[in-house]
């Protein structure tokens, strides 16, 4: 077991290095900071001096190592627009995004786990068809369209929920206010995730229901409720661990668009405004951060999977 964990971590290291190389290469391809300087009033010599000062005259791989060294000190560079350190900007926007992502993940699991299990137990019955059809609807509806529909219904027509921001302007906010602002973005993010999760959990559960140990449990006559909730559900936890791991990159991506629509003051909104103003250090900082998080999430999922499922082959 320890051998397997060490091996997984050793495989992850070159991937991590590769991610930093890709990230840096994209940033260089996107344009050099010198372009911002160019203009009629800036002389060639000044640009040249700045080039040397920034270390841009050195070969690509040296620049990369300098950048990597800075990275280890927690320095992701500076925003072209606001001149703030990128790491500070990320830190200040991380909270709202984590809140949104965490809430959506929990809500989607609260929908998907019972629905997937219900659907598997009632396979090929009306309830099953209804759940599967809804799950397809969930994964087929674009997040932004669902957001617009919700805003149209709950904000414009009914006036129940606020459509933008995290707190009401001019107030301190408070728990209930934030909660009211969260409802719609969380529904949208959770709906798209629940769609694919329901089908995943359903098929995993179907497989479990056919296992011999469940037949034994049924044969003991302990009742349907106990069979499903004690014997089957515990084994269904294995695929649920995988589902959570798979959802992390989806959450990061989905948050960018949803935060934009609802003006949620998180990482996604910051990234989107950086993209429109071509603020590459900020964009690539966020990309790097999310790639590393995804990599770690995958690593943890694999290790947890091996811990939870003793039958998995560790070769």
């Amino acid at each position: 077991m320890t051998k397997y964990i060490i091996k997984r971590i050793l495989i992850a290291i070159p991937v991590l290095i590769g991610i930093t190389i890709i990230d840096y290469a994209i940033m260089c391809m996107a344009g050099s900071p010198l372009e911002m300087l160019q203009g009629p009033r800036v002389s060639e010599a000044a640009v040249e001096a700045k080039k040397i000062a920034l270390g841009l005259d050195k070969p690509f791989y040296i620049q990369y190592f300098v950048w990597l060294g800075q990275l280890f000190h927690g320095n992701l560079g500076y925003s072209i627009k606001s001149y703030q350190p990128v790491s500070e900007m990320i830190k200040s926007h991380l909270g709202p995004t984590l809140l949104l992502m965490g809430a959506s993940l929990i809500v989607s699991l609260l929908i998907a786990v019972p629905a997937g299990i219900y659907s598997a137990i009632h396979q090929y019955e009306k309830g099953d068809y209804a759940v599967v059809t809804f799950s397809f609807l969930g994964s087929s509806i674009p997040g932004f369209f669902l957001s617009l529909l919700l805003i149209y219904i709950f904000t414009v027509q009914l006036g129940w929920l606020p459509s933008s921001g995290m707190t009401t302007l001019g107030t301190q906010g408070g728990f209930l206010d934030v909660l009211r602002h969260m409802i719609m973005p969380v529904i949208v993010l959770a709906a798209s995730m629940a769609g694919s999760n329901i089908r995943y959990i359903r098929s995993a559960m179907l497989e479990i229901l056919q296992q011999d140990y469940l037949r034994t449990a049924r044969a003991k006559g302990i009742g349907r409720f106990k069979v499903i909730n004690k014997h089957a559900l515990r084994n269904a936890l294995v695929p649920i661990v995988t589902v959570i791991g798979m959802e992390i990159p989806v959450l990061f991506g989905g948050a960018v668009i949803i935060e934009q629509v609802f003006s949620w003051p998180g990482l996604g909104l910051m990234t989107m405004s950086a993209i429109t103003s071509r603020d590459y250090p900020v964009i690539m900082g966020v990309c790097l951060l999310s790639a590393v998080v995804v990599l770690i999430a995958n690593l943890v999922t694999d290790i947890l999977y091996a811990l939870v499922d003793p039958t998995i082959q560790l070769d």
């Binding site: 991610i19 397809f136 617009l148 993209i275």
Partner: protein, 311 residues
């Protein structure tokens, strides 16, 4: 009562099983062709059959857009933001273009982006997967680690960054979506090739000294087409959703060309959202219907093409 219910259920399942197996054997006697089997299995999924009809009708409408559209998509023919009426079935947009005609052309663009992006990512994924799976060793390691790296970046973020670097436009969107969405297919193909390589008929081919291109493209590839096809349908659905999202954010297909996503772009303004629903709801519904139809077909294909489904 509880136990009794369960008993009944078990009996019913068993009855199904018996019925299925005899059914299956009977079919074997008449020896239907592979395609007939697939068709028979596919037909059992009613939603998928309906989806196929819907997709053919909508695809046909998109193809025939120049004939069907009552107006030219970029011509200003009516009042600004006119409500739906007899003359303009779905109203007119902010600068007086016919929404229905634009919708037909938008569907054309969105389907084109989806299909082309899927083709590109499938070809890239299949080639890399074949190389990695068949040759193993160093090429396998390099390709799979690269796949891991690309997969670590959140998909939408990568597409957005690429769209920001390259100028947004129809062909750039197709290329970006195509070159970002191949890792899934590469992994799938690699796994299948690894399994196939251990089978006797491939080993026989190698012993017989068949040329490499023959083994790869005439022996291995046809045996892994079914899962690729199923996966490609989900890629098609995802590409269409992503095109819509990108165009909605203004980074995708650029106006005046209409795509389903950029027709929704107008809904970011409050007047359009609240007072002119005909400008954004039809385009949104069309995306949902198209993507859902593709997903249903993919799901039915998965079942129909599965050699172990046994039904």
């Amino acid at each position: 009562m509880e136990k009794f219910k369960m008993k009944k259920k078990f009996n019913r399942k068993k009855a199904y099983a018996v019925h299925d197996s005899t059914d299956h054997e009977n079919r074997d006697i008449v020896s239907e062709s592979y395609l007939e089997t697939i068709f028979r299995r596919f037909r059992r999924h009613h939603l998928a059959v309906i989806s196929l009809v819907v997709l053919v009708v909508l695809g046909g409408a998109a193809l025939l857009a120049p004939v069907l559209a009552p107006y030219k998509p970029d011509d200003i023919v009516g009042t600004f933001s006119g409500a739906p009426c007899k003359e303009f079935w779905l109203g007119t947009d902010q600068i007086g273009r016919d929404v229905f005609s634009r919708l037909l052309y938008a569907m054309r663009i969105s389907l084109l982006v989806g299909i082309m992006a899927t083709l590109i990512s499938t070809v890239v994924g299949v080639v890399l997967g074949l190389i990695a799976g068949y040759f193993g060793g160093v090429p396998d390691m390099l390709i799979m680690r690269f796949t891991d790296m690309v997969m670590s970046f959140p998909y939408i973020l990568l597409v957005l960054v690429a769209a920001a670097i390259f100028k947004p436009g129809l062909w750039n969107i197709i290329l970006i979506l195509g070159f970002v969405d191949w890792p899934g297919i590469a992994r799938l193909v690699r796994g299948n090739v690894l399994n196939l390589r251990e089978t006797n008929f491939i080993k026989g081919n190698i012993v017989a000294g068949m040329p490499l291109s023959h083994i790869l493209f005439s022996e291995i590839l046809p045996n892994t087409v079914a899962p690729i096809l199923v996966y490609a349908t989900s890629v098609l659905a995802i590409s269409m959703l992503d095109e819509a999202a990108l165009s909605f954010l203004g980074l995708g297909v650029q106006p005046p060309a209409a795509s389903l996503g950029n027709m929704l772009n107008g809904a970011q303004s409050l007047t359009v959202l609240t007072r002119q629903p005909w400008l954004w709801i039809p385009a949104g519904i069309l995306i949902v219907v198209l993507v859902m139809a593709i997903n249903f077909i993919g799901d039915a294909l998965r079942d129909a093409l599965d050699p172990n489904s046994g039904r």
